[in-house]
């Protein structure tokens, strides 16, 4: 399932053999719709990645991976940390921002994860997370082709709903029904996060 493999599947359904032969769409439009398809499909608990970050003594904040969508589990040196909110930490310790010692919890704050307490020794932070497999870097060849099929139907639905000469409501409706079928199957097997 790469950008190129999905494109190869899409082009015949858009009456073209190559990108240059596309009559009513540009490659950048297909690319944008593919990114939207990736975002829609990544709401399912399908794409999981593991990131490891070195933890340094005295530093509680660590950046989350670029393709991060939601945390599944965060552990420090194979010890699972429990998620908490800032309100809970404030209730637990009025000096929580200065507390240091054994790390037990983590707080997600935008694009960073803050571990509590501030570590006093080095270690490795393992972040298991639901990812958004961007097609920007060509996608990932790791995932099966059947997931690429789901992407393709989402894109055809969008391409055929584009106002103008390319608009074909019957084709768009059929493509969206197929995309809905793939989504339903993925949701039943892997769930949502």
């Amino acid at each position: 399932m790469t950008y190129a493999s999905i494109l190869t599947r899409l082009l015949p359904m858009l009456n073209a053999d190559t990108v240059a032969e596309l009559q009513w769409w540009t490659e950048s439009e297909l690319y944008a719709w593919m990114q939207e398809a990736a975002q829609r499909i990544s709401r399912f608990a399908l794409f999981v990645e593991l990131a490891s970050e070195p933890v340094t003594s005295g530093e509680p904040n660590y950046a989350l991976p670029a393709q991060y969508r939601a945390a599944i589990q965060i552990s420090l040196d194979e010890r699972t940390l429990r998620p908490v909110s800032v309100a809970q930490l404030e209730a637990r310790s009025t000096t929580w921002t200065q507390d240091s010692g054994t790390v037990e919890n983590f707080v997600l704050d935008g694009r960073t994860v803050r571990i509590w307490r501030t570590p006093t020794s080095s270690g490795t932070l393992a972040i298991l997370y639901y990812a958004w497999p961007s097609v920007a870097a060509g996608g990932s060849d790791r995932y099966p082709d059947v997931i690429g099929d789901a992407y393709a139907w989402h894109v055809i639905g969008d391409a055929r709903a584009k106002p103008g000469d390319a608009m074909a409501p019957d084709i768009a409706a059929q493509a969206r029904e197929r995309a809905r079928l793939y989504d339903a199957v993925i949701e039943q097997y892997w769930g949502t996060w």
Binding site: P12, L14, E78, R82, P144, I171
Partner: protein, 267 residues
Amino acid sequence: MNLAELRDKTRSRLDDLSPAGSSYTTAQIDGALNEGLRLFALLTLCIERTVTIPMQIDTTRYQMLSLLRDWLLPLRARCHVVAGATEGALWDQPLWDSTLFNELFPDAAVTMTPVRPARLRDLTALNPQWRQDRSATIKRYGCVGIDELFVHPAPSATGTSLQLTYAAAAAALSLDTDTPETPDEDHQALVHFAVSTLPFNYGGRELQQGTEDLLRFLAIAEHRAEQVRTRSRTAGYDREPFELQAFDRSILAALMKGKKEKQEKAA
């Protein structure tokens, strides 16, 4: 039916025979048949394989798509522990009392125990440091996402394997003599899928007529999924196929009905 026969049937249904390939290329038809095969395998989980994966010491996570290219979902796991496995005669290191190369030493003790499914949160709730647990026998397994498999506890010694039964993706059809891995009686479903998919570049009447074929494809898949579900329950598998009967097909039916109404009006 092999690929060549499926292709001919599809061409015949699409009236693409005089001359053959005037509307659709061989690559387009093969692509549609393969997509149908992939979807059929996903909907029904009818392709099963059983493999034995040697577990690594102190390792709790495995990326299944790196180990098995056709991995979809786990169905059942068994822990296979061989004590004394290193006593087996290897190809270039025969032992005097081993009858064949690569056979286990006759005195090796083999045990096979069921491995129960679990969720990450269950293991964490039981013990936040579960990844540090070690044992000769794996007791639980689970999957996060499509390919992240975890086991608990991690094996403490060599000789532990996971006998895994899994639902597999179908192998692609590329040669004319290739036969789909799905049951023979379901091969017609692939023709229905291709007939419903290929007219997407034309739209119009052909596409609407194809909707009926898509519904037939889904009906065959539903029937197969029911059989697989019954068998899965009997075998005590951890997963069952997609519940197609719960999928709302009313919009597809409406698209098909729209076609019939137009035909009636025209008549």
